[in-house]
C-alpha cells in the first residue's frame, strides 16, 4: 500500500503579539490510500492548522516553521511554472502556481461554515463550471455542468437546481454543494474540517453517509477533522488524537474505542455522551490546556493527567508503537 500522505516533523507557528504559538508541533503522520483518518481533539489543539498546512493555506500570522509534507501523485501534472513529476512530492517545496494546480485537483478542502462558502453571485452550476475549468480549461461548459449534476445527484440534490443561487439553499444543502465541489475533480486527498458541525444531527448523519458513499465510488483518501468522537466512530478507519499541537495517539477506530492507551484519549472517550447508556456518568477533564504561547516543559498534558509522574514534567514523551498496534506518546508505555 502506498501512502497518499506522509507528514514529517511538521511544525506550524503563529507569530502573535504575545509571542510565538506553536499550533502544530513536530507532527509525524502517514495515511494509506483509500482510508479515512479522523483527526480529533479539543478545540484549539491545532486540527485546522494541520489541515490547512496540508493545503499550504495557514492563515496570516502563521507559517510552517519546519518539516515536510509529501503527497503521492499518479501522473505527471503539467504546470506553467514547472511540471510536477509523479510519485511522492514534497509540497512544502512547490511554488504558488504549482500549489494552485494541486488545490482542488489533488487535495480538496471543505470548510466548516457552509453559509458563506459559496459565491452569492454565482449559480451552483457556475460554481462547478468554475471549479472544473480552473483545472481543465478544455472542458466545455455543458460537460462541466453535467459532471456537477452527477455529483450533486449523489448527494441528494436535484440536478435542475444548478440554476439556483446559493441563497436559495439551506445550510445542509450548501454543505452538500461544497462537498460536491470538493469531490467533482476526484482529488486524491479530501480534507474536511468539521463539515457537519454547524448542521443538525439528522442532516449530519445523512451527509456523513453520502460522503462515505462518494468516497468509495471516487476512491478518495480522506481526513475528517472533528471534535466529535461520535462522528468518527461510524466514518473513520483510523483516529489520531491531538493535544496542544501534538499527536498523542493514533490507532484504528476499533482499538481506540475499545482500548484507548493515552490518558488524554481515555478521558476524551469518557466524556462522550452515550444515549444507549443514559446512566453513564459523564466525566470531564479538569483544568484547561496550557497556553501555546507559553508552553510547559515535558508532556503538555501533565497538569491535567491523573497518572502524571516526575519524568512527565521534564521530558517530552516520544511517539512510539503501542500494544494495540497504533502509536502513542506517553511515558506510561515503552518501558524504561
Amino acid at each position: 500500500m502506498t501512502n497518499a500522505l506522509r507528514i514529517q516533523d511538521l511544525t506550524v507557528e503563529y507569530k502573535t503579539r504575545r509571542g510565538v504559538a506553536r499550533a502544530v508541533d513536530r507532527v509525524q503522520l502517514s495515511l494509506e490510500e483509500n482510508r479515512t483518518l479522523g483527526l480529533a481533539g479539543e478545540s484549539g489543539c491545532g486540527k485546522s492548522t494541520l489541515g490547512r498546512a496540508i493545503m499550504r493555506l495557514v492563515p496570516h500570522p502563521g507559517q510552517v516553521a519546519g518539516g515536510n509534507i509529501y503527497i503521492n501523485i499518479d501522473d505527471d501534472i503539467p504546470c506553467k511554472k514547472g511540471d510536477i513529476p509523479k510519485g511522492e512530492v514534497d509540497i512544502t517545496g512547490l511554488n504558488e502556481e504549482q500549489m494552485r494546480v494541486l488545490r482542488g485537483k489533488e487535495i480538496a478542502y471543505i470548510f466548516q461554515d457552509p453559509m458563506t462558502s459559496l459565491n452569492p453571485m454565482l449559480t451552483i452550476g457556475n460554481h462547478f463550471i468554475q471549479m472544473i475549468q480552473a483545472h481543465n480549461p478544455e472542458i466545455e461548459k455543458e460537460e462541466a455542468l453535467d459532471r456537477g449534476k452527477e455529483v450533486l445527484e449523489g448527494l441528494g440534490i436535484l440536478p435542475e437546481r444548478v440554476t439556483d443561487y446559493p441563497h436559495q439553499f439551506s445550510g445542509g444543502m450548501r454543505q452538500r454543494v461544497m462537498i460536491g465541489l470538493g469531490m467533482v475533480l476526484r482529488p486524491r486527498l479530501l480534507i474536511s474540517d468539521e463539515p457537519t458541525t454547524s448542521l443538525d444531527v439528522i442532516v449530519e448523519a445523512q451527509i456523513l453517509e453520502q460522503m462515505a458513499e462518494l468516497k468509495k465510488t471516487f476512491n478518495l483518501t480522506m481526513i475528517l477533522i472533528t471534535h466529535n468522537l461520535g462522528v468518527l466512530a461510524q466514518t473513520a478507519d483510523d483516529i489520531a488524537i491531538m493535544y496542544c499541537g501534538r499527536i498523542v495517539e493514533l490507532a484504528s477506530t476499533e482499538n481506540l474505542f475499545e482500548a484507548p492507551q493515552h490518558p488524554y484519549a481515555q478521558a476524551l472517550l469518557l466524556s462522550v455522551p452515550d444515549v444507549t447508556k443514559p446512566n453513564k456518568k459523564l466525566v470531564w477533564i479538569p483544568g484547561a490546556p496550557p497556553d501555546l504561547v507559553d508552553p510547559i516543559p515535558g508532556c503538555m498534558f501533565n497538569p491535567r493527567c491523573p497518572m502524571a509522574m516526575d519524568i512527565c514534567k521534564t521530558q517530552v514523551p516520544p511517539l512510539i508503537e503501542s500494544e494495540t498496534g497504533g502509536l502513542v506518546a506517553c511515558h506510561l508505555y515503552g518501558g524504561k
Binding site: 493545503m55 493555506l57 494552485r100 494546480v101 494541486l102 488545490r103 482542488g104 485537483k105 480538496a108 478542502y109 470548510f111 461554515d113 458563506t116 462558502s117 459559496l118 459565491n119 452569492p120 453571485m121 454565482l122 468554475q130 471549479m131 480552473a134 483545472h135 443561487y165 441563497h167 461544497m178 465541489l181
Partner: protein, 421 residues
C-alpha cells in the same frame, strides 16, 4: 421561454389576443391606458412640434429616424428569427445584425449626401444618431422587456429609467430640426414673456424661446454627465480594486491621494479645476470626474477589503482558482452593485454640478442652449414672479436625473441575486 415568445419579444405580451385581456383588473386597464396614452401623446407631440419646426424639415427628420429605428428593430427580429429556425448560431446572427446596422448607416449617409442640399449636410448625422437611439429604445422594449419583466419591479424600473434617458437623448439629437424657433435667436418675443399659446414656455430674459431651449438644452448636460461618469467609473473602480487587493504601499499611496481629493468640498474643487482648464465639455467633465473618483474608490476599496476576507474567496483559493478568476469572478461582482448605486447618484449629481459650474460662469456662453444656464438664470428672476424660466429646464434636469437613478438602482438590485426576488 417558448419559441414564439422568444421571437416575438414584447409583442407576445402585446398581441391583442382575447385571453390577454380577459380577467384583467381595473388597475391593469388603467396602467395600460396610461402607457398607451403616454406613448401616443409622445408621438403626437413630436409630430405636432415637428410640423411647426423652424427648420421646415422637422417632420422629415422625425419620419426618417422612425424609419431607421424600425429598420433596426426589423433587423434584430430577423436575426432572432434565423437563430430560432436553427439556420445560424447566436454569435453569427449577432454579427449579421451588426453588419445590417452598419449597412443601414452607410446607406443613410450616402443617401443624405446625394439628396440633401449642402446647407443640410449635417442632417445625416442627426438621422443616424437619432434613428439608432430610437432603435435602441425599441430593442430595449422588444428584447429586454420580457427578460427584465421576469426580474420583477427592479426590471421594470431599469426599463423605465433607460427609456426615459434615451428619449431625452433622442430629443436632444433631433432638437435643432424640430424646435419652433432657433434657441439662440434673441427677441423672439418680449423679454421674460409668460407662457402663451404662441410661446408655450415663455421667453428668457433675452427674449429667446424657452420651449425651444428646453428641447435643445440637454446636449451639454448629457455629454458632461456621461463622460464624467465613465471617466470616474473607469478610474475609481480599478483603483479601489487594485489598492484593496494589493494592499501595502500601493494602497496607502492611492488612499492618501483619494482622501486628499475627498477632503475638498466637491463644488469648490470642481470650480477650481474648471477654472484652471477653461470652458469646454471635456474640461467640465474632467473637473466633475475628479470630484467623484474618490467616492467610487472608497466604496470599492472597502467592499473589496471585506469581501477578500469572506469564506467564499478562501473557498475559491482552495478550489485552485487563479488570481484573476478570484478577482473578476468572486471579488469584483460582489463589490460592483455598490458602485452601481454610486453611479446613479453620480449621474444625477454630475448634472447638478454641471448646472452649478454654469452658474458661476464656467459653463458655456449664451449662444449655447443649456438647461443649467437657464435654470440658474431663472433662479435670479424667480423672486419677481417669473417662475417659468426656472421650472421647465428644472423639470428636464429632474427627469434626466430620475431616469439615471431608476436605471442605476434597478440595476444594482438585479445584479445582486439575493435582492432579485
Amino acid at each position: 421561454m417558448d419559441k414564439t415568445k422568444l421571437v416575438s419579444g414584447i409583442f407576445f405580451q402585446l398581441t391583442p389576443k382575447k385571453e390577454a385581456f380577459e380577467g384583467r383588473s381595473g388597475k391593469w386597464w388603467f396602467a395600460l391606458l396610461i402607457l398607451v396614452g403616454l406613448a401616443l401623446a409622445f408621438i403626437a407631440g413630436l409630430i405636432l412640434v415637428a410640423v411647426g419646426s423652424n427648420s421646415g424639415m422637422g417632420l422629415q427628420v422625425v419620419t426618417g429616424t422612425f424609419i431607421i429605428g424600425f429598420l433596426v428593430l426589423g433587423g434584430r427580429a430577423g436575426s432572432r428569427y434565423v437563430v430560432e429556425q436553427g439556420v445560424v448560431t447566436k454569435k453569427r446572427a449577432f454579427a449579421w445584425f451588426i453588419g445590417f446596422c452598419l449597412i443601414t448607416t452607410i446607406a443613410v449617409s450616402v443617401a443624405s449626401f446625394v439628396f440633401l442640399p449642402a446647407s443640410a449636410f449635417d442632417l445625416w448625422f442627426v438621422l443616424v444618431t437619432g434613428g439608432f437611439t430610437l432603435g435602441v429604445m425599441v430593442i430595449v422594449l422588444y428584447d429586454f422587456y420580457p427578460v427584465l419583466r421576469e426580474r420583477g419591479n427592479p426590471g421594470l424600473a431599469v426599463t423605465a429609467g433607460i427609456l426615459l434617458v434615451l428619449s431625452i437623448v433622442y430629443m436632444t439629437f433631433i432638437a435643432y430640426w424640430i424646435v419652433p424657433h432657433d434657441p439662440f435667436t434673441l427677441d423672439v418675443g418680449r423679454p421674460l414673456a409668460p407662457p402663451s399659446s404662441s410661446l408655450p414656455f415663455g421667453t428668457t430674459s433675452l427674449g429667446q424661446d424657452l420651449f425651444s431651449r428646453t428641447i435643445a438644452g440637454g446636449a451639454i448636460m448629457l455629454q458632461v454627465a456621461v463622460v464624467s461618469v465613465i471617466v470616474c467609473f473607469f478610474i475609481g473602480v480599478p483603483a479601489g480594486l487594485g489598492a484593496a487587493y494589493r494592499g501595502g504601499m500601493v494602497d496607502r499611496v492611492v488612499s492618501l491621494l483619494m482622501d486628499s481629493i475627498f477632503a475638498f468640498p466637491g463644488l469648490v474643487l470642481a470650480i477650481a479645476i474648471a477654472a484652471m482648464l477653461g470652458p469646454g465639455i471635456i474640461n467640465m467633465a474632467i473637473s466633475i470626474a475628479v470630484v467623484y473618483v474618490p467616492s467610487y474608490y472608497r466604496v470599492i476599496r472597502s467592499q473589496v477589503l471585506s469581501i477578500k476576507e469572506l469564506p467564499y474567496v478562501e473557498a475559491a483559493v482552495v478550489m485552485g482558482a487563479r488570481d484573476w478568476e478570484i478577482l473578476f469572478r468572486y471579488v469584483l461582482p460582489n463589490a460592483l452593485p455598490s458602485a452601481v448605486v454610486i453611479l446613479s447618484i453620480n449621474f444625477a449629481d454630475a448634472i447638478l454640478t454641471a448646472a452649478g459650474l454654469t452658474f458661476v460662469g464656467l459653463g458655456f456662453p449664451i449662444d449655447v442652449a443649456d438647461w443649467g444656464y437657464d435654470l440658474t438664470a431663472g433662479w435670479g428672476v424667480l423672486v419677481i414672479g417669473k417662475w417659468w424660466l426656472m421650472t421647465f429646464p428644472g423639470i428636464m434636469i429632474v427627469l434626466l436625473a430620475l431616469g439615471f437613478t431608476l436605471a442605476g438602482e434597478g440595476l444594482s438590485e438585479i445584479l445582486t441575486p439575493k435582492l432579485r426576488e
